[in-house]
């Protein structure tokens, strides 16, 4: 598996480890959606830091994953899009609307806290 799924509390982290083929991306989609359900996760972070190319298929799949996970009642944040990849995506005309984005894993987890209302509880502790 080129994108192992780690569990961190109520969240899942899909950590992409290398260039992903279309099949790898679809496997990640299926694995994430089934794991969200099994683990009753409230949020998912997909870390794409290592990806040097995000083409139309990859962007569409990330968008689809985010929509599916929302249907299961959880939130998705895509983190680590490289500046070069962002340039390329904008020129291609790609959007991943529906999925939130954050700079890195730490920011992504903070965003999930804010979105799922866990931030307040964490501060209160």
């Amino acid at each position: 598996m080129r994108a192992p799924i780690l569990k961190q509390g109520k969240y899942l982290i899909g950590s992409i480890q290398g260039s992903l083929s279309d099949a790898d991306l679809l496997a990640l989609r299926d694995e994430l959606t089934s794991t969200v359900r099994e683990q009753r996760s409230s949020g998912v972070v997909i870390d794409v830091t290592v990806l040097d190319v995000l083409d139309s298929f990859a962007a569409r799949t990330l968008r689809t994953i985010s929509q599916m996970i929302r249907l299961l009642g959880a939130e998705t944040v895509i983190v680590g899009i490289q500046p070069e990849v962002a340039v390329s995506m904008v020129q291609l005309g790609l959007t991943i609307e529906g999925a939130a984005t954050a700079l890195d894993l730490e920011e992504g987890l903070a965003l999930l806290d804010a979105r799922t209302g866990r931030g307040a509880r964490r501060h209160a502790r």
Partner: protein
């Protein structure tokens, strides 16, 4: 007809030595094509952003081959135009061809259930983009990007 027009297009862009042919038969070949393209282009003076644009454009035209023709090939080579060097990417197949190229080049148009951004997107990513297609014969896309 196709090959003649393609040869003319190729002749206009004086060819340097390096040339790579990557058969596109399976989805895994997309990865190979864009990785080889990036590696070849990185021998020129391209910024990392430009390398990413090139790799992404290769991914899109290679994907187009898989989606519409099933199989085909990507030809990568370095070329020279005046004092500028560049990379030329040819994506060719003997698939069904494209009946209406102007329609195929419109954002959002797709007959394969995709986003329909592949070809028009690849054109925006590269400096030059030429597409020749004959229904029943196939399609050849020649695109290039030059050093500044």
């Amino acid at each position: 007809m196709l090959s003649l027009m393609q040869e003319q297009a190729e002749a206009r862009a004086g060819t340097l030595d390096e040339e790579l042919l990557i058969p596109i038969r399976h989805e895994a070949d997309l990865l190979t094509a864009r990785q080889r393209g990036r590696a070849l282009a990185s021998s020129l003076r391209f910024s990392s952003s430009e390398l990413t644009l090139i790799a992404t454009a290769i991914s899109e035209v290679a994907r187009n081959i898989l989606s519409y023709a099933g199989t085909g090939e990507i030809l990568l080579r370095l070329a020279r135009k005046g004092s500028r060097r560049g990379i030329v990417v040819v994506a060719r197949d003997q698939g069904p061809g494209i009946a209406d190229i102007s329609l195929a080049m419109q954002d959002g148009y797709s007959t394969a259930g995709s986003l329909g951004l592949g070809l028009p997107g690849a054109k925006r990513l590269m400096d030059e983009f030429n597409i020749v297609s004959e229904v029943g014969e196939g399609t050849a896309i020649t695109m290039s990007k030059w050093e500044h």
